[in-house]
Amino acid sequence: MLYEQLIINAAVLGAVFTLFALGLSLTWGALDVLNLAHGATFVTSAWVATSVYSAYELPLASAMLVGILTGGMIGVVADLVAFKPIRLLITNKRQAELSMVAATIGMGFVLDRIIGRATLDQVFSFPARAFPYKDFHIFGARISNIEIIILVLTFLCAVLLNLWISRSRQGMAIRAIAYSAKIPPLLGIHVDRMSAATMAIGGMLAGLSGTLMTVWVSGMAVSTGHSFLLKGFAIVVLGGVGSIRGCVLAAFILAFAETGIVAFGAGNLRDLAAFSLIVLILLFRPQGLFGTRSAMRA
């Protein structure tokens, strides 16, 4: 019976990881950006959702929506303030890459401090009455309604994202941009607009992940963002940059590995899972499970 419970916990954790990592993989694959502010976006969205809920007494879903949109907005602002000018001003590719990473570090600092100050570096969450937790019993294990919601939402997002990237015209445009930044303008594609859209989606995924996480564990802090960021990278590397399938699989692998490690004793070695994974994959298969050397695939 214990095993079923572990599996459910690991699965839900994997789902939350998936949403977070998808956003990271999308921006890394399409825009060559290592978004080190993704964790801060995750936390900020959650904080905005909890604040708005308390301050304006909105229904929970609305508050969460506000949080998600905040995440999207942060992404767009990041693109406008940092990535667009860098694309314009810096021609050397390696230099641009480094600058974009540095820019996201800077933005992460700013967000972290603001939220840290606002929360007095404490854990924050929605008030207990906010969500009507309800447990169900399946196969002798307990699963709550929020956990079911998380699993369903994640599945929907992954499927929709996959469809969008592989079938839609914008998805094709993004895949083209991931392949080469020089070609799309010749095809009449507005790279700036697509870049902003990609960052918006990435940010919204972070926001969704953050708000759901906050409801699930009833607690979120600036440090959670850091932890997720590192794990997000492990997942993206393992799954293969730009591969949605890989991302999902890798997220669940990490979630199960972590849950297993904690359950079977060596709790403080939990984080070791993520880092060992990164190093091993980078050594033996740098393109990850499903990645290709170059572009984005569905």
Partner: protein
Amino acid sequence: MLNFFSSNEILLQTIAVFSLLAFSVQISLRAGAFSLAGVGCWAIGGYSLAISDRHDMHPVIGVLIGIVVSAIISYLLALLLVRLRGLYLGMATIAFNQMVGIALIHGGDFTGGELGIYGIGARISTFQLFAVLALVSFLLWALERGMLGRAYNIVRDDEPLAASLGIDSESMRRFAFVLSGAVGGLAGALNAMMLGIVSPTDADFPVIVIALTMVIVGGYHSWLGALIGAALIQWLPIGLQSFGIEGMSEWWSVVYGLLILFIAVYMPRGLLGGLQRLGSLMARRHQDFREA
């Protein structure tokens, strides 16, 4: 003048030590290798000194052990990570740093576990610190000059070109890796002497971020840039406080974040690059310049 030194001694010592850490990152960035393993070596160097101090060895021995162990580990790391490039290499070295931290936590009595090692007896004077800094600066300056300096530029910017010129990029990068680790280890050992304690968080993410951003803010194309970045970053919290604005010191990381953002976008060669451009703009006003 002496007043200035004595009242700001800690700041100066911190600047010296962090400059060395910045150097370690700069060395590898300059060679085109996005390696942050110098931070892991910073922890290794610190612990080497702490442990040798515990065994009553002379501090110089402790420092040397720190340097040698860091160099060896960096060499092995270089061999292991030879095929990685760009962001992937960066991530692998970050993972390495985290693993160093975890290893230190689980080192039992040898490494003092989660609390680290306290009460390191060895001490170093400000003068000695700056002497070491000057020495390493000179070494880096020498490496940036002449044929070797140019060779490294080529390895960084255009690998196929390097190959066609008969430059062995792989061994040059390996050398940069090892040197980066050695300097990181040196920095860590000196830091341990300055603070008197080492802890597993020495290889943690915040240190990595500080190390990288010092170099980016100052300018990673030259050792002087790293120095400027280190000095600025260590001074910033104090400087902001002295401006007297209420609670400024609390918000110093916001100022820092905005500074990094601005420099990353508009001054990719860092403050040093900006100063250089200003200087040459003033000196030669009427000519066009090719973007480097």
